[in-house]
Symmetry: D2
């Protein structure tokens, strides 16, 4: 199978599409990004990295960071994490507070905002946000085998300035005893983790630890890796996770910056990015590109 050919075809197809979605507007740093951009990178089990389009342009990974913090938290805390956050699709929007009220401050899963705040609270663990963020960046650098990635300070500051909704989630969980650090520290750390900037190439490389192929970085145990993938499959696209599984058939995690990290177990770690979003808040072109890639490669886990 000529994967590079498939990527090229997808790149050509994407470039020709007039509807590119709308970039997120809640912070100016995202609103100003040119929606014409599209990048795709595939890290294969044999070590090759293939790309098309703007695969070396840096973007804000936003909620894709939740995959890395979850891996870190499971390493620190093991299955104890699951007493503070569930493993079920929420059936509600990524930033919904409804279930926190009816379910005693325990978020449904680690990939909705409330759950990710709990995960961040876990890895913070009484330390300074700075120290925690340094560990996280170090983890992502080690995964990507690339020291040239960082947190975008402007984005982090802007997230903080527009962070009332996430702060509300954290305060609500604090009221239920499900925050162990001061709310402003946990939220501050969370706003910064979302502001990590990476290219598609870097992100695809960083995702290799979830591929389960030989010679890949081994940052979590195989059993834990499978479980992270299961959560990405059922919860990785918020309230459109079912549709992504239906169309693509691969575990993935999307971010509001337009990036999606997708894993084809044993085969590839894939990063796609295009800043325009669809109605569900996932990358418009990125979702279509992944559907094409899965169809052309036959990499669906259901195949």
């Amino acid at each position: 199978m000529d994967v590079q050919r498939i990527l090229d075809d997808i790149g050509t197809d994407m470039a020709a599409r007039p509807d590119r979605g709308l970039a997120a507007t809640y912070i100016p740093e995202l609103a100003g990004i040119d929606p014409a951009q599209f990048g795709l990178a595939v890290a294969l089990a044999d070590g090759r990295v293939l790309t098309t389009g703007d695969a070396d342009v840096s973007f804000s990974i936003q909620s894709v960071s939740k995959v890395f913090t979850l891996a870190l938290a499971l390493g620190r805390q093991g299955d104890g994490l699951w007493s503070r956050v569930g493993r079920e699709p929420s059936g509600h929007a990524f930033n919904s507070i409804l279930q926190l009220e009816t379910e005693a401050g325990i978020p449904r899963n680690p990939f909705i905002n409330a759950g990710a705040l709990v995960v961040t609270d876990t890895i913070l663990d009484g330390r300074a946000p700075k120290e925690t963020l340094a560990e996280l960046v170090q983890f992502v650098r080690a995964a990507a085998d690339d020291d040239d990635l960082h947190i975008d300070a402007d984005v982090a500051r802007s997230e903080q300035a527009h962070g009332h909704r996430n702060t509300a989630l954290a305060e609500f969980m604090a009221a239920h005893g499900n925050m162990r650090n001061p709310v402003e520290k946990t939220c501050g750390t969370y706003f910064h983790q979302c502001a990590i900037a990476m290219t598609c190439r870097q992100l695809a490389l960083a995702g290799r630890f979830l591929m389960g192929a030989p010679d890949m970085p081994r940052l979590v145990s195989p059993a834990r890796m499978r479980r992270v993938l299961a959560l990405m499959m059922t919860c990785g696209h918020y309230d459109a996770s079912g549709d992504f599984a239906f169309r693509v058939g691969l575990p993935g995690k999307s971010g509001v910056g337009g990036g999606i990290l997708v894993i084809a177990p044993g085969r590839a770690s894939i990063a796609v990015w295009s800043p325009g979003l669809n109605a569900n808040g996932n990358s418009h072109l990125g979702s279509i590109a992944m559907e094409m890639l899965a169809a052309r490669t036959g990499w669906s886990v259901f195949d």
Copy 2:
């Protein structure tokens, strides 16, 4: 890999467990079933069928029937079905009516009760329930390659007598114009489809059309097959679907009779049954047995 040995080990382990869950109690026909029973059957891609325990005891497949009616409905109606039912996990109980009110009578997915009623309404399509049920039974018989399976009339009658909740769902959808046949006809058909009785062996055989292996019955297209599996993965265990994906890593569909149909793509169609249920309404031993089977065989799609 010696699959028979794995099955035997699982059978031995299950027999020794004191906690067997509680059989469903809403109809006497289910409440009276001995929870000591446990059966498991695996239809492999090479044509062999391996079993352990009570694999030849007939049980009520209940909601597992939703897989067969979905396949039938997609065949009749194609993607038009998706204008009447969604493809997302609901985040609510299998029989919840909440989202019907806030989402204009469109159920979240075809595997919760409301969605399955829409699917049944689709295949009913103006015909007599009897004719529709005959087609369904014929479909399942063809899939299992076994004419000796039928609808349990006592169970069907009892379902009907205790069917107020499902009737409420159907009436509510009728109020939103999402029922095309008279409510009593759709509900009557639904109550009968749930009352299909099968053994683990029969159910494993009937599930082979979703395996995607050569020489298996070809009742739906490969693309449609993958999509049914995706729905089973994200929605097949109601509000415990995420946990099943997390623990087992395979698409499955459970029923309140204690049966679960699980597909290992390309490898096996698996039916497990034990009538005692866990807190989520899924087979207690069946869920544990599937977790063991996936771990021992390495069949998780995330592996």
Copy 3:
């Protein structure tokens, strides 16, 4: 105070208003009614009945009938009724099913549809619908001291034909054991009670038993009367009850046919009717007229 003068002023003001709301459209019998009509009748404590506008035109009282069935049910069953229906504003739409799911099939109050179905189920009490409806019509005739009022058979038939939503509510409560008669009998009775046709004059007369003035029909005890009025104040206008209390300051019960029965304790029983509804489903002109009447008379209970 010259109440007739006030009524005349209101009638003149209403006639001049261009915005008359929109008649209910869910059944043709209501949809076809001319929204230009407006009637108002006031039965005073001294025995006089004053009117303006179309006070002698018959209309469908719809949910105003819930006041009469509640009075009947309390007479039959006393405070036992309150184990099956609550006394709190629902905070949801008149036909919402949400709280039935989260509150075990017990409706919030007797004036939302679900609660009114329980009330009707109570007075049905194993009897034939016909017999029950005869008792109800007799009760209203006695209250109004007028034998010339009846159930509109066309409206009742049409309610039944479009009754899926109410049937869903009843089936859902039946699933929770909160229906004692067959659902079709309770619903059938309910559809007929809503179809009682009365004029403003008749309705104002029929409401006198809630005035608490001497020489008025005494159909319920004073303590019970106060409690029915309290429920009308907090729950009588569905999810706009707070606004009606805020603007008018009097207990009232509205119906989708455009009628409102309002009680000024010790002073008057008031019936207003205009078929055009506002966004909340209450009579547009009727609500405005009542606000004017309360302001001009100083009859607000908070004055």
Copy 4:
């Protein structure tokens, strides 16, 4: 009518009751209060103030303060307030966040916590909390004609330390643009207003401006007074407002400190206090005492 005799009878009855409810436990300052205490004060239209029991013991008025801040906010802002907060019973708990998510950050009414935070945000209006609180205390002192009432600093501090839930409500509304001051300022002001300490005698006197009797302090217009009373009737006891209207028939506002302010229009301003709460979070003995008082005096607005 010998009101003093009625009060004495109520005091005697209350003293004999073994079940006194449970004091609020969320802050130590409330948890430690002796539930044996009971006080009742009635300020009559003729100027007399009658009392029984611990009517001169100071307690934390908590949510009763919402009546005073609402009056202040209406004075400052007029009906513009109603674009930021509704006038309907919520149908949910006093501290619920559910409707804020589904209703765009607009609280249902000014007497649930979210609504009261908006009201406080309105009167804060860019000023320092200290200045705003000074105005509020001055308002209450003027109403009570008593300069000897103050904010309990220990209670305020404790409210703040346990204020995550209220902060979550405020942050959530800030995310919807429905907070105009920094969240910490609005919340800080709110925590202090709840900590106002008053005796029953002082509170009854302070409530006279809502009586609508001649010679009473005139702090709001008669039209506004009626509207505040209507809101107290439909929303003053959170999710037990319907029951209070049903049992007592008078507008009231309760607080978690065990106090209730009740107005009998034209007749009396009544303050009752007993720190033990019932299941709905309202004073247990206070609610019973008010039911007795209304029954004995015939002061129900529905009488």
